[in-house]
Symmetry: C2
Subunit: 539 residues, 2 copies
C-alpha cells in the first residue's frame, strides 16, 4: 500500500482535522436555534473507528490482487457511506450496514482489469469509487441479492495528468484525479479545467463524468459532459477508447453512453478534457431584488441574452440569509463575467441594464473589469463562494446538531417554473410541518439555461432524535413526488444513484431503460458493475 | 394521397423547375473548363421518369396501409437515391437499382406505428425519410440480404409546429417539418430555430436530429444536438418520450441515444426544440490573410476567446475563389456576430484585434453594429451565403458537366491540424492526380471549436465518362484513409449512413458498436430499421 499523507474522514466530509472549529459550531448552534425557535442545539460526537462494527468480509482478495487491496476497518468504513443526510445520520449512529468486503486501490488500468476479471469470475459486485462524495447512494455497497460480496474500486492512485495539449487547450487526465490534484498539475501550464462542483476537494474526474457533475459555469458549460473530448473506459468485457475530437457527428455519441453511466458499464480510467486558460479579467455584481419574481425574470433574460456569464446564481430571500449574503429583504442575483481574453465592461453593462429593467438594485460603479485575483473573493459573491466551498463541512455540522438538513435539485423550463416552484415549496413545506413541526426551505438557481433554470432547494428543520431518517424520507418523498409530477427532473447534477431510483424510474422512458439494460448485458455480462444504481441489471 | 403543390426532383437537388438557368450553366462550364485546363464541358441531360426502369415491387402495402402508401414510379424513384456525387452520377446514368417497394406517407404517429408493425411482421426493412438530402447513403434502400422488401417512411405529412413556449423559447415540432416549413410557422412568434444546414430547404427536423446535422452557428451550438430539449421516438417496440428539460443529469442521456441514431432504432416523430429570438443586431467582417497559417491561427484564437461569433468560417485561398468571395491571393475569414439582445461593437472590435495580431487585413470601419436586414446579404459574407444556399444546385450542375465534384468533412484538434491538413491534402491530391490527371482541392472551416476546427474539403476534377464512380471511390478511399489514420472523424455532420461504414467501423470502439447493437435488438427485435446504416444489425 502506498503511504497516504492525509486520511479522509470515514464518517463525514473532507479530511481528518478539517471542519468547523468548536467555536464556529457553537455559533452555528446558537444562530440556528434562534432561527428555528428552538431552545438549544447540541452537537453529537462523530464516531471513532473503535465504535464501528463491520460485518466480517465475505470474500478476500486473491493472491494476485492482495498487494493493492485492503480490508482494514478504516478503509472499509470510509467506503461504506456517501455524504448525504441519510449517510451522515447513519454514520453518527455508528450504522455501517453495507461495508465493502475489501477495497482495491489499483494504480494502473491493468490492475483495474485484474480486479474486474476476478469480480466477474467470483460473482462479486464492483463499485467504482472516486472521492466518495455521492449524495445519492452511488457508492454504497448496497448491491442487493445474488452477489458473493461487494468491493470498492478506489481510483485514488490513478490521478496523473498524462499529457497536455496547449494548442487545443486539452489534457489527458487519469480518472482518479481529485479536483485540487488535477488543478495543481494543470496550473504550471496556465490551464484549468475550471470544474468546481461543491465537492471539488473530495471528488474525482471519473466520478464527475460518471455522474454528469455540475461545475463552475452557471451558463453554457454547466455539466462536465461538455468538457469531455474523448475517454477510455474499462468494462468487464475489455477496454474501449473514443477518439479525441473537438466535435463529432459520426452516429450515436459513444462518449454520451458512458457520461452519466454511474459505474454500471465499467470504470472510466482516463479522459481527454477540454480546458480553459486561467481568467485574467473579471467583472462581478450582486444585485438585490425586492421581488423574487422580478429576480428570476432578470435571470431568465440574462440566460437568453447570449452574454453567457460564468456565474448567474440567484439566491432567494431565505437563501441569501443562509449564505450570509443578505438580510432577507432581498433576493440576490450574483452575476460574474470572466475571461482570459478581453475586458468585460460591455457584457456587465448589458447584464446590469437587464437587471434594472426588472427593478434590480444594481450597485453604483458596477461594470468595471478587474484583473486582480481579489476580485473573486470580495463582496456578496465572495461570501457566497467561501460558504459554498465549506458547504460539506456545514452539512456535517447541521446533522451533528440534530437537524434535518439536506438539499435537492432539479431543472424545469421557464414557462412552468412559477407553478413548479410553488408546487415544490408547498409539498416540501407541508411535509416539513407534518414531520418536523416546521422548518425552512430556500431556493437558489444553481444554473440557468435559455430554456429554464436548475433550481436547488435547501431544507433545514428540527429533527426528532432517532427518527431523523424517517422524517427526511417523508420530506424527500413529498418533494420528489412534486418534482416528477410537475415535470422536472429528479436530479440535474447530483446523479441518480440508489436513492433517486423510485422517481428516476418514473422519469425515464421504460424502453430506454430496457435499451440501457441490453447495452449493460453486452458490456457487463455478469452484471457486477455497481448493481442497483440507475437500472436493475438483467442477468 | 394528399395533393402536392411542388414535386421534388427524383434525380437531383430541390424541386422541379429549380436549379441553374441555361445561361448560368454555360457560364459555369466555361469558367470550370478554363480553371481545369479543359477544352469544353457539356452538360448531360437529367433523366426523365420514362427513362427509368424500376424493379417490380416485391411487396405491396396491405389494405390497412394502402390509403397512405404509394408505389407510383415517381415516388419510388424519388426515394431511391440521396444527393451525393455517387447518387447523382447513378441518377444521370438512369441507374435506380434499389428503389423502395413502396413509400408510406403517414400523417400521424399511429400510422407510423401501423407501418412499422406491418414491416416487422413481414420482414420488410423500413427507412425513415425526411427531405432525402443524405450524402452518405442514409436513405437508399440498399438494405442487404434477408429482407422481403424495403420501404421508405416519408414523414412529409407530419410537419406541424404543435406548441410554442415563448417564455422558454421552445417549440414542439413534428419531425417531418422541412426547414422553410418550420421557420414559416415559427416566424409569427418572433422565434427561429436558426438551424440552417446547406440542405435547409430539403431536409427535415427528424433527419437533422437523426444525423446530428450541423447548422448555422459556427461556434457553440454547432450541431442540432444542442437544440433538442426533449423528443419522441417510435420504435418497433413502441413509443418513448423524454421529458423536456433545459438541462439534465439523471443518468445516461436518453436523447443522446437517439440523436445520431440514423434511423436504426426507430422513427423520431416530434421534438421539443430550443429556439432563438430573431436577431436584431449584426456585425460582420471579411478579413483577408495572405497566409493560411495566420488565418487558421486567428480562427483558433477567436474560437478560444469566449466571443462566440455566429459565423467564423475560414475559406482557404482556393475556396475563396470557388465561392466568389476572393481572387485567390488571400484566405478569407468571415466573422459575424448576431444578437437579439445587444449591440456587438465590443465583440467585433476584439475579434478584429485578434485578426490584426495574426496579420489579417481587417477592412476600415469594421465593427459597427447594424440592425437592418441587408447586413446579412452584403459583401463577401453575403456572396458566400448565397453560394452556400444554392450549393446543392451547383453540385448537380458540376456532375452534369461530367466533373468529379464532391465534399468531405471532418474534425481534428488544433495541435494535430497542420500535419492532419497536409496529410489529407497530400492523399487527396495524389488520388486526384492518379485518377483524374489533376484537379482542385479546397478547404474551409465549417465550424470552429475551442479545441479544434471542423475542416470541410471540396474536390473538383475532370471525370472520365463511364468511370466517374470508380474515380471518386478511389479519391474518397484515399482521403478517408488519411482522415482516419491521422486522428480525425469520418464525418463531423454529414452522418455515417452506408457510405462511411468502412471508416466509421475503424473509428468507433468495437465494444460500443456491440452495446449499440444490443440496444437495437431490444428496440427493434426484427432488425427492420434502416439496416446497413451505422452498424450491422444482429438478429
Amino acid at each position: 500500500m502506498k503511504a497516504r499523507v492525509r486520511r479522509r474522514k470515514f464518517w463525514g466530509w473532507g479530511y481528518e482535522g478539517e471542519g468547523l472549529t468548536a467555536e464556529e459550531l457553537e455559533q452555528l448552534a446558537r444562530s440556528l436555534a434562534e432561527r428555528l425557535g428552538l431552545s438549544e442545539l447540541k452537537a453529537a460526537q462523530p464516531p471513532t473507528l473503535e465504535e464501528i462494527r463491520l460485518r466480517a468480509p465475505r470474500v478476500t482478495p486473491p493472491r494476485t490482487l492482495a498487494g493493492f487491496c485492503s480490508a482494514e476497518p478504516w478503509e472499509r468504513a470510509e467506503h461504506t457511506l456517501g455524504k448525504s443526510f441519510r449517510d451522515l445520520v447513519r454514520g453518527l449512529r455508528r450504522e455501517y450496514e453495507n461495508p465493502p468486503d475489501f477495497v482495491a486501490f489499483p494504480d494502473s488500468e491493468e490492475q483495474v482489469g485484474m480486479v474486474l476479471d476476478w469480480a466477474a469470475g467470483s460473482g462479486v459486485a464492483a463499485i467504482p469509487y472516486g472521492g466518495g462524495s455521492s449524495v445519492a447512494g452511488g457508492i454504497e455497497p448496497d448491491v442487493g441479492e445474488g452477489y458473493a460480496g461487494a468491493i470498492s474500486v478506489d481510483m485514488r492512485h490513478m490521478g496523473r495528468v498524462l499529457e497536455v495539449d496547449s494548442a487545443s487547450r486539452a489534457a489527458l487526465i487519469e480518472a482518479g484525479a481529485l479536483g485540487p490534484q488535477l488543478e495543481d498539475q494543470l496550473r504550471p501550464h496556465g490551464l484549468t479545467l475550471r470544474h468546481f462542483p461543491q465537492s471539488f476537494e473530495v471528488s474525482s474526474l471519473g466520478g464527475w463524468i460518471a455522474t454528469r457533475s455540475g461545475g463552475h459555469y452557471a451558463t453554457l458549460y454547466t455539466h462536465i459532459d461538455e468538457f469531455v473530448e474523448g475517454m477510455r473506459v474499462l468494462t468487464p468485457r475489455g477496454a474501449l477508447e473514443t477518439r479525441r475530437l473537438p466535435g463529432d457527428g459520426a452516429g450515436v455519441s459513444a462518449d454520451r453512453l458512458f457520461i452519466g453511466s454511474e459505474g454500471i458499464l465499467g470504470v472510466i480510467t482516463r479522459a481527454w478534457m477540454r480546458l480553459q486558460e486561467r481568467p485574467r479579467f473579471r467583472s462581478s455584481a450582486s444585485i438585490g431584488f425586492e421581488s423574487f419574481d422580478d429576480a428570476w425574470q432578470a435571470a431568465r433574460e440574462i440566460a437568453q441574452s447570449g452574454l453567457y456569464p460564468a456565474n448567474c446564481r440567484l439566491l432567494d430571500h431565505a437563501e441569501a440569509v443562509f449564505s450570509g449574503s443578505g438580510d432577507g429583504s432581498r433576493a440576490i442575483l450574483i452575476v460574474t463575467f470572466e475571461s482570459a481574453d478581453h475586458e468585460l465592461d460591455a457584457w456587465m453593462a448589458r447584464a446590469g441594464a437587464i437587471c434594472r429593467e426588472h427593478h434590480g438594485e444594481v450597485p453604483e460603479g458596477t461594470g468595471g473589469t478587474r484583473s486582480d485575483d481579489s476580485a473573486a473573493r470580495e463582496g456578496a459573491a465572495g461570501l457566497w463562494r467561501s460558504a459554498f466551498i465549506r458547504g460539506g463541512h456545514f452539512h456535517d455540522a447541521f446533522v451533528r446538531l440534530g437537524l434535518v438538513q439536506e438539499t435537492f435539485e432539479t431543472a424545469i423550463t421557464w414557462d412552468r417554473f412559477p407553478e413548479f416552484h410553488a408546487g415544490v415549496l408547498e409539498a416540501t413545506r407541508g411535509a416539513l410541518a407534518e414531520q418536523c413541526g416546521g422548518g425552512l426551505v430556500s431556493c437558489r438557481f444553481a444554473y440557468v439555461y435559455p430554456d429554464g433554470p436548475a433550481p436547488y432547494y435547501t431544507v433545514v428543520a428540527p429533527g426528532r432524535p432517532g427518527s431523523e431518517l424517517e422524517q427526511w424520507a417523508a420530506i424527500k418523498d413529498a418533494a420528489s413526488e412534486a418534482l416528477i409530477r410537475l415535470g422536472g427532473t429528479i436530479t440535474h447534477h447530483h446523479s441518480v444513484g440508489r436513492y433517486h431510483r423510485p422517481w428516476y424510474d418514473r422519469q425515464r422512458p421504460d424502453l430506454f431503460a430496457q435499451a440501457l439494460q441490453a447495452a449493460k448485458r453486452e458490456l457487463d455480462p455478469a452484471a457486477i458493475m455497481n448493481p442497483g444504481v440507475l437500472i436493475d441489471p438483467r442477468r
